[in-house]
Amino acid sequence: MINTVHLPPAFSRRAALFVTLAARLALIVIVLRQLAPAGPHVELGPPRTVITEQPAVCTHTRLTDEVDEWKIQRTLEMVRDMGAATIVEFFPWPYVEPQRGQYDWTHPDRILRHTHNQGLNVLARLGLVPGWARPPTHEKVTTLQYLTADHYDDFAAFAAAFAARYADRIDGVIVWNEPNLSLEWGDRPPDPEGYTELLRTSYRAIKSAVPTMPVYGGALAPTLEPDDSPAAMNEIRFLERMYAAGAADAFDVLAVHTYGFTHSPDHPPDPNTINFRRIELLRGVMQRYGDSDTPMTITESGWSDDPRWTRAVRPGQRIVYTLAALEMVTAWPWVDRLCLWIFRQPLDLHNRRDAYYALVSSDFVIKPVYEAVQAYARGWPNPYAPDEWATP
């Protein structure tokens, strides 16, 4: 015998109406979801390792602005295949901590699971400032690089959290980028003492979270700006003032940027010239301050073959200079890596200068310089070696 429950007529009608509406809504949602185009499915694939004979070969990637995961994966596959064991990648603080103390790791998680899968070492460059750590816009309009001393602890806390979360996926943390440029220091005059304080605060926080995590300081831009320039400070002077402010104990590796412009890599260092060997002047500062044991990493370098730029070289020269620079670094025991700027840009033509520094076009077409670096790193016959081209 079936027991029936007798509900009041009004209630049962409302309940039936509700159930019907809910079912219809659910049906609509299901149908609409099926209609939406599916994104490209990315499979991680089996773990890979980098095959290289030149562990100093490194490249700076730009995955920060990359929306599609398959492009992140493709980029890193090509880096690995080139024989570069290490990448430098930028992780903006605002992406991870949009609200104070609330971390959203989606962006770095996505990139670092792919770098890990490709067997790449990662130097994580941290920078930019979230809105909550800058003055309200009605008080002061600031740029994304504007960080005041009262928020150094906040940045350090973020850096420490980053290091702790990815202790097994990254090989170092670069604190800030090119602080000797006003542009990179919140449109304020560069402040070596202020940056040293930021570096020291971050160093302590990172080391307390992961004692073995290397901290990279500096990442100074080469510049010939005069002493009184508000736009930038000569990087040699900047480094001297960092040391004078006690920076020696605040980093494990000095990150440097060095560009050749139109000069070959063996062009002798000169305080009045920007060239590849200018890095030796920075080394001299380290030695003068008794910091010779601290290694250096070239986190940005390269030559442009922009046909419309007076500071660029011809495509063949770019290859020859790049290979020669990589070879020079192997003879410098105080430099462990040379990271070529830049592997690939999300858009080729938006920023033209960078497009001609890239090793791979935005649509993943390899350039001759990629092949040359790959042959060098993998120990293959090099189609661009000097004995492959003629002299008149």
Binding site: R308, T310, A390
Partner: protein, 284 residues
């Protein structure tokens, strides 16, 4: 045939019915005709540039005020460079010539390359002339003019043994600049021809010297290097067209339809009357 006859029959029936309808409703027919004419007139009058249509504000302002603002990146001699006497070069001359033809005063605004398109988008300049190539990703809002220069890879040969095309080099040799677009282009031709020897040089100048010395039949190098070389070595000659084109164009906002049209017209006219060649010859 049967189908055609059926269609013709249907048309005749429609015409007959229409005539009957007009005879029965003459005033309605007149009103319908007037509405149709008014619609066509309205459509014509509201076309861009017509009395009631969208106005090209940039062109209108330029003509009324007698001014013209041009964005240019002065980091590329001989196309544009910043000299003590002002901005000089091929692109500066073309910009000034356009202003002269339109009866307006040209003001050249110099900026870094990365700022060019932003300046165009925000209306700070009327057009850009800075060695730009057609960028398909921007054609939604940018109109690119006809080319004013082809900087592509061109064959250069000895005047005594001129070479006009890559096909003529079958069984011969060509010098190229290592890793250049000419290098890639020559490799493509190497696959098409029976035999083609490619000799690599680090610089275009070296490839041209080898060609001039008779070590190779021709050199495939960029047009700027080729023209500069031919200027001081009259015994060499350039092919009439490039093997690998690389065309420089002017960029103008698509909404400035009149400006875009006038630029194309003026460049065509400058090409026809020899002004463009004269400007190029002055600098290359």
């Amino acid at each position: 045939m049967k189908t055609l006859r059926q269609i013709a029959g249907a048309l005749r029936a429609f015409a007959h019915a229409s005539r009957r309808w007009v005879r029965m409703h003459p005033w309605l027919a007149v009103i319908a005709l007037l509405v149709l004419c008014a619609g066509l007139a309205l459509w014509w009058l509201t076309r861009p540039g017509r009395p009631l249509g969208r106005v090209d504000g940039a062109w209108y302002r330029s003509q009324v005020n007698g001014d013209l603002y041009v964005g240019l990146d002065p980091s590329y001699p001989p196309f544009a460079e910043w000299t003590p006497d002002g901005i000089a070069g091929i692109e500066a001359d073309i910009a000034r010539e356009l202003g002269r033809r339109w009866g307006v005063e040209t003001s050249i605004l110099i900026m870094g390359y990365d700022a060019l398109y932003d300046a165009l988008y925000t209306g700070q300049v009327d057009f850009l002339i800075a060695g730009l190539r057609v960028d398909p990703s921007r054609t939604e809002w940018v109109h690119y003019s006809v080319p004013y220069f082809d900087a592509g890879q061109v064959l250069v040969s000895r005047r005594a043994a001129p070479v006009q095309s890559m096909a003529e080099l079958d069984g011969g040799s060509v010098a190229v600049e290592l890793a250049s677009a000419g290098d890639t282009g020559a490799q493509r031709w190497q696959r098409r021809l029976q035999a083609l020897e490619i000799v690599h040089y680090l610089l275009p100048q070296e490839a041209l010297d080898a060609m001039r010395a008779g070590q190779v039949d021709a050199a495939l190098v960029d047009t700027i290097s080729a023209r500069q070389y031919a200027d001081v070595h009259p015994d060499v000659v350039l092919a009439d067209t490039t093997t690998v084109p690389d065309r420089y164009v002017i960029a103008v906002r698509k909404g400035d339809f009149r400006m875009a049209h006038e630029i194309d017209q003026a460049l065509d006219a400058m090409h026809e009357d020899g002004t463009l060649d004269a400007i190029l010859a002055r600098w290359l």
